[in-house]
Amino acid sequence: MRPLVAQLRAEVTMIFTNGETVFLTLGIPVVFLLFFSAVHVLPTGTDHPVDFLVPGILALAIMSTAMTALGIGTGFERGYGVLKRLGSTPLGRPRLLTAKIIAVIAVELLQAVVLVAVGYALGWNPGGAGGALVAAAVLAMVLGTVAFGGIGLALAGTLKPLVNLAVVNALFVILLLLGGMLIPLGKLPGWLEGIAKVLPASALADALHGALGNGTPVSTRDWIVLVVWAVAMPVLAGLTFRWE
């Protein structure tokens, strides 16, 4: 237990002492939320953009932590030989992975608290979100975390650190634009919308928009897309991950 606790403390310390990570996981979501609720430039289709923005930006926050922060951090640890070196300590892979997962969840909880608080302050009205819908939203976020974490680790485990950094950041922007987080998918051209709909980003954003926005249950298609990515990407990461 002591190694796990110490490792978890180190992982969390590294996340919160790294300015870039804090900016990525808290700065960007909060700034987007504040900016786009004040400046009505996004085609959110509502007079009250914050109702659309909070669920979408929660999805964005999940993606920034589970995919981008985890992927970049792990990629650099691999590049610096840290992962290799840990392999000859008694820490072990299961504990290392557990510590990383708990650290990601801890950051996500913090993000959720901050974003929901800011959302309420901006007048967010979660509509008719009852217990079942909130539970569905949480489950969707868990699946999204697993899927995005798998993507981040699959890249971190195969690419060189700097290439990984570039690819993960590029992917973050692409999924942000195509994920329906800020821009509704309906605004995309048909062919692009077709691609976007099978991405984990849009499935998560759509699930959260429904459950925490207009109070509609998560669609079967969203569940399928999320589950497929949540199974496929960790498996891919597990099969391809190179520790050195």
Partner: protein, 361 residues
């Protein structure tokens, strides 16, 4: 360093004295580390070719060879990072890969490069690693030991190269290992740091720890190791104590310098039948004494002959350094294997200054 670094369950070197100066006397106990006919292949490349050697408790074994000789591959096979294509590796009588979980708490590893969280402070990393072990060394004591107390808050990426190496060494020690693997422990370390690292390694061996280190620097091997395993192109070229290796290839020749173009024929005659003399380069001579002649007598005759002619005696040396032995060993192999690439590591040692810079050991 005090007895904080005190492996509780490793045997002290036998016969009470410091390190076994003769490369660890034969013992009936199992060696701490053994390689037996190890072959490591990467695709078509043969990195290690039927390598066998042993390391015992209290012994410092240096794997010496040029870059790319297969040293790191060998050490990484012992650490469990690399599978061997054939042959066997054993560490503390365990299989480094199959018994990985049982082995890792008992070994300390210093990688050739990196291996440390770049953003965490020295003390933070050391405390983190200490938490992985049931019975860990006191991190603050270790920081002190490797001389990093002043930079305890400095993150790894802002440490100097030498400081990074010393932190990596401290991390290898924190679990109180019985076997320590150090891949190029003094590379990039300044002279003062080297002295510190050497004294730590010697102390660990005194406490019964088996230290396996790699180096491409002869002087390091000569100063640090009880036993030197010379490797090139994945093959063992020689294995023994630095002294034994040096004398093993010694041919009894004497080297001296004086003025160029002395009458070598006359000197050889004076020295007696069978003596040969060769001017290797202007003013530098290699003398092969007559068979059975005692070295002091030969030196006396040589000095007398020079004195009669009022010639100065410059550099005079009998026997040879490990460096010369190394060059002789790797050179003879290259001669036997024309396909082998050239000089061992391109070190300047074969030139004029290196041959005279003997270690103090």
């Amino acid at each position: 360093m005090d007895d904080a670094i005190d492996p509780t369950d490793t045997p002290a070197p036998e016969n009470g004295s410091a390190r076994p100066a003769t490369g660890g006397g034969r013992r009936t106990s199992t060696p701490a580390v053994s390689c037996d006919g190890v072959v490591i292949r990467y695709g078509d490349t043969l990195a290690v070719d039927r390598l066998s050697f042993e390391g015992r408790a209290g012994q410092v074994v240096a794997l010496l060879g040029p870059n790319g000789a297969g040293k790191t591959s060998t050490v990484e096979a012992l650490e469990g990072y690399r599978p061997v294509s054939s042959g066997s590796v054993r560490v503390l009588d365990l299989d480094p890969r199959r018994d990985h979980t049982a082995l890792v708490p008992r070994i300390g590893v210093m990688l050739q490069k990196g291996g440390v969280y770049p953003m965490l402070g020295s003390a933070q990393v050391l405390h983190l690693f200490a938490s992985y072990y049931h019975d860990a060394e006191d991190p603050d004591h270790l920081l002190d030991l490797v001389g990093l107390s002043a930079v305890r808050r400095t993150p790894w990426r802002r440490l100097s190269g030498g400081e990074q190496q010393r932190l990596a060494l401290a991390l290898a020690l924190v679990g109180k290992p019985e076997v320590l693997f150090l891949d190029e422990p003094t590379a990039g370390v300044d002279p003062e740091g080297r002295i510190a690292v050497r004294s730590i390694i010697a102390d660990l061996a005194d406490r019964g720890i088996c230290v396996i280190l790699t180096t491409h620097e002869l002087a390091e091997a000569e100063r640090l190791a009880d036993r030197v395993v010379i490797i090139d192109h994945g093959r063992m070229l020689a294995d023994g104590t630095p002294a034994a290796l040096a004398s093993g290839t010694a041919d009894g020749s004497i080297r001296f310098s004086t003025e160029p173009l002395i009458d070598t024929a006359d000197l050889a005659t004076t020295l007696g039948a069978g003596a040969t003399l060769e001017e290797e380069r202007p003013g530098f001579y290699r003398l092969q004494p007559p068979p059975g002649a005692a070295t002091p007598a030969v030196v006396a005759t040589l000095a007398g002959w020079l004195a009669e002619r009022d010639l100065a005696l410059g550099d005079l040396r009998t026997g040879q350094s490990l460096e010369e032995a190394y060059l002789a060993i790797t050179g003879s192999r290259e001669a036997a294997d024309p396909g082998a690439p050239g000089a061992p590591d391109g070190r300047a040692g074969r030139g004029s200054h290196g041959l005279r810079s003997r270690g103090s050991r």
